[in-house]
């Protein structure tokens, strides 16, 4: 499957990203629980891109490391960036109106989690979930 680039600029786009991630997770033969975890993480991250990053995009693709198949999703925005990543990953920390579970919660739901950000330089979050 080729990578799929999706814009995130409104609530309906968050739904579309969830659906694309779900479709990729089914194709990669993730278990139902793992599909649900990945789609939930993607929902949190897509909403962050929209709410805190002022919009951006998501890249969804199937990956294969020779042993296992999986799904990788990359969320990019050109927003204000995150000054203190450790703090942003802490449960209960929120700079908005959320519950402060988005970033830390998303990290717990996936197998690989990477975040690249700097103040004024946008944020890129990459997650991977592997089929077991």
């Amino acid at each position: 499957m080729t990578a799929q680039e999706l814009p995130i600029s409104g609530d309906a786009d968050v739904v579309r990203v969830r659906q694309a991630v779900r479709a990729a997770a089914v194709q990669a033969k993730l278990s139902l629980v793992d599909q649900t975890k990945l789609v939930t993480a993607a929902s949190e991250l897509a909403r962050n891109t929209l709410t805190y990053g002022g919009g951006g995009g998501a890249l969804v693709e199937q990956v294969d490391n020779g042993l296992r198949k999986g799904v990788k999703a990359v969320f990019r925005d050109k927003g204000p960036g995150i000054a203190d990543v450790a703090q942003a990953l802490t449960d209960g920390f929120t700079s908005g109106s959320g519950m402060g579970l988005g970033l830390g919660g998303a990290r717990r739901l996936v197998d690989e989690f990477a975040i690249e950000t700097a103040p004024g330089d946008g944020t890129t979050v990459t997650v991977v979930k592997w089929a077991r």
């Binding site: 629980v33 789609v39 909403r47 449960d91 959320g98 919660g105």
Partner: protein, 121 residues
Amino acid sequence: MERLPILKIGQMLLVSIQVDLRDDMVIALQEDLADRIVETGARGVVIDITALDIVDSFTGRMLATIAALSRVLDAETVVVGMRPAVAITLVELGLSLDGIKTALDVERGMRLLSSARGTAR
């Protein structure tokens, strides 16, 4: 904007979510439910999430807010039909849904409400 239908059954309100939830629909539901509780004097609210394939922190917060605001308006809320994979994910996400009553299906949810408050009809 698409809004979620709210059905009145006896002294209860039933919301069965059958579509992919957008955040704006969730916010509208909170307002619509508050209005309908006051308008109908309903004593209970059943929210059926059988068709929801995920509940993220935003939707979870919405369920908690609806439970809290309906309590203020003298109605109890029960969330029914959560899928097992959704429950597992919610717990791992860190969402405890404190203060929200749950039941396995609509029927049990309604029974729970009527036995708790004697609100069957």
